[in-house]
Amino acid sequence: MELGSLQRRYIDFTTALFREGFLDNQYTQLQQLQDESNPEFVLEVVTLFFEDSEKLLDELSRTLDQQVVDYKKVDAHVHQLKGSSASIGAQRVKNVCMAFRNFCEERNQEGCLRCLQQVRQEYFLVKSKLETLFRLEKQILAAGGSVPVLW
């Protein structure tokens, strides 16, 4: 794809991500921290988020699958997922985590399981979006261009 088209696609895609609530201003903060001495900072942080989140989602499945659910443990995991999603600006994941914690407090297993499904869905959605974003950035750089700055 031609450089100009790639850059336009990047702009449209990024704008949509923010408009649809997948990402919020915290993601922009991370982009602002990145510089020439740390050109992969955002990718590194997001990769850590992916690893951490998938571990937490697996733990959540295991914990909610127990005969007697340890809601304190569930809440601790959701709290962690909420924190890290807030830190990278994954707004929709964070929002589901907030609802999830309410169900933990109520010791509502059905509610928790629904939230788990929802948070898993939102996580994999934002993961896919971010991977597309990084792919576009790579393609733009490979084509000799600059990644548009949208802030």
Partner: protein
């Protein structure tokens, strides 16, 4: 290349923060150069640790960062022992300020704060708490035990820049610009005034 725009914007923001910081330094410190401040970051979240490390490192080189993922490891760095206190030796890394998450498994940030303040060799080290929860009871507990400040996560550039003020002698009260900060009245101690939390 594309990083120029990123770098330019980040530098502009850091310069804004630096200007604010310089203003505060002139008013508060009465002179002296900017020494490197060694910060011990304690957070079990690898994502948050990385972000805080970067925030500190981008602060114009005034922070030297040591980061650990647990209160237990923080105790080791500080030369403290959970069971009994021991005096620090030259092998322990000198820490100027501790920046710790509140919610951590096993040893919480509150436990760490208590341990730091209970030990004569570490009591004077400022401890700043971080949390994603704006919980007034939590803030009061930390304050009562001696935390310098309580910062809401996710941290911003300005939150980090202010850390340096907790490691220098305090002068007249300076303005606090962040709505998200809940000051622990450190600066106010020197002039008898108290800050009320904004929320």
């Amino acid at each position: 290349g594309h990083l120029v725009g990123v770098q330019r914007r980040a530098v502009e923001e850091m310069e804004e923060v630096k200007e604010e910081g310089e203003e505060m330094d002139v008013n508060d410190c009465g002179g002296g150069g900017l020494e490197v401040v060694r910060v011990l970051v304690v957070d079990d979240s690898p994502v948050d640790r990385k972000i805080v490390e970067m925030l500190l490192r981008r602060s114009e080189g005034i922070f030297d960062v040591v980061s650990v993922d647990s209160g237990k490891k923080a105790m080791e760095v500080l030369g403290l022992n959970e069971i009994e206190a021991k005096p620090p030796n030259h092998d322990d890394q000198k820490i100027d300020i501790v920046l710790t998450d509140y919610c951590m498994p096993e040893m919480t940030g509150l436990d760490l704060l208590k341990a730091v303040k209970a030990n004569s060799s570490s009591r004077s080290i400022p401890v700043v708490m971080m949390s994603s929860e704006n919980d007034s009871e939590r803030i009061s507990s930390c304050r009562a035990i001696g935390a310098e400040d309580f910062i809401l996560k996710p941290l911003q550039v300005k939150d980090v820049q202010r850390l340096r003020t907790y490691t220098v002698p305090i002068g007249p009260m300076s303005k606090r610009g962040s709505k998200r900060k809940l000051p622990m009245a450190l600066i106010a101690k020197s002039n008898g005034e108290r800050h009320a939390p904004p929320r």
